[in-house]
Symmetry: C2
Subunit: 232 residues, 2 copies
């Protein structure tokens, strides 16, 4: 049975944004589990780490299938399979996840099963995507006594827009329509919106401006998020 | 005049949680500015990086004084002095900040002045403290469609407790009193509270449990934060 599982965040996409600790542990574990979303498709997380691995470590990669779906019962079968594969591994292993393991991560699909089975877990944080995106936008997320809300897929945006100093919307699908419905003519200049797709990757795309200045049709929705700040 | 300013996050306290990029840039810049809160006091941020610097780089350290105060007019004088010192430096420089530069950081005190003066800024993210703390608590901050709010000093906690799936309170002063006032007998088991002081440092302190199980008198308030999760 596995001795220890490291949940390692590999950050937004640039291998140099890995922590020193992540690089060291990736090169010390017996097996590295990498998530894929479909058989035969390459792993985004693995692409980030592959160039920091020693040659002999590249033989210790095992893919775990985490399909994209909204059907939780269907997904749970895969989460359980992944847990069983990890449990049966030998020695110390790592499961890598893009961004940070504590923020909407693939690691959370096996985390509670590992703990319930008293398997030792250690989290190695990675740079979370909202922070990488704010860095690339060259703006602070929050300063002083400002507050911030992070909303998945813009859920409850109507409740919190204008209430929080900063809102991060994870996944920007339909965000343009939502914002144009929520914000009337009088208030459309009250916000600055930054949209980042694939922060820190080679094919990063960035837009920043008032609501009317953003071309929402051109936003690449894959690995994208929005930072919405109230102008003071 | 300075050519470029890197705002470098040095993470929560463990030098191995620096990113590879941060280590490389710290060893390439002409000057490293380190924040201190009082003349003669050592810099927490510098203590994190000192062992990753090449010997010759240790001569290029310049302290900047950012006193602790709530008097913004008094502080602005120091922020302006810091900006002027940075502006007059030669070549490429770095200003280091604990945690991440985009989240309540020392870097934000000079950031807007740098931009207004068209000085090139590049942000190198660090691991933000809420994420390091959740990692040490061995719990996800958010998963699935959960939302999260980050509140400085627990401002507006009464509005958002029970509303957000997860709340992070930066600085835990008076948090015990606030929680006991806000949560009645019937609901006191509805939350799990994790309190972390100096996450990932040698003298890290952790408590986790229901509200009644936390000994708030023993919480070290320096560099501390709370993660409050609704139990489902």
């Amino acid at each position: 049975m596995v001795e220890k599982v490291y949940g390692i965040g590999v950050g937004p996409g640039d291998k140099d944004l890995l922590t020193v600790k992540a690089v060291n542990i990736l090169n010390s574990v017996d097996t590295i589990f990498v998530p894929i979303s479909k058989e035969g498709r390459s792993s985004v997380a693995y692409d980030i780490i592959k160039d920091v691995l020693n040659e002999d470590k590249k033989e210790n990669i095992v893919e775990l299938l985490f399909p994209m779906s909204k059907d939780i019962d269907y997904l749970k079968k895969y989460w359980n399979d992944a847990f069983n594969t990890i449990k049966e591994a030998n020695g110390e292993v790592a499961l890598i996840t893009i961004g940070d393991p504590t923020l909407y991560s693939t690691f959370s699909y096996v985390w509670s099963s590992l703990k319930e089975n008293n398997i030792s877990v250690e989290i190695i944080n990675g740079i979370p995507s909202p922070f990488a995106s704010a860095g690339r936008l060259n703006i602070p997320l929050v300063e002083g006594d400002e507050n911030i809300a992070i909303l998945p897929q813009g859920k409850d945006l109507e409740k919190y827009l204008g209430v929080f100093d900063t809102i991060v919307v994870m996944k920007t699908k339909s965000l343009g329509e939502k914002l144009k419905k929520l914000v009337d003519e009088e208030h459309k200049n009250d916000y600055i919106v930054g949209i980042v797709s694939k922060a820190c990757c080679e094919n990063e795309e960035i837009q920043m401006g008032k609501i009317d200045e953003i071309n929402f049709d051109e936003v690449n929705e894959y690995l994208s998020l929005a930072v919405i700040k109230k102008i003071k």
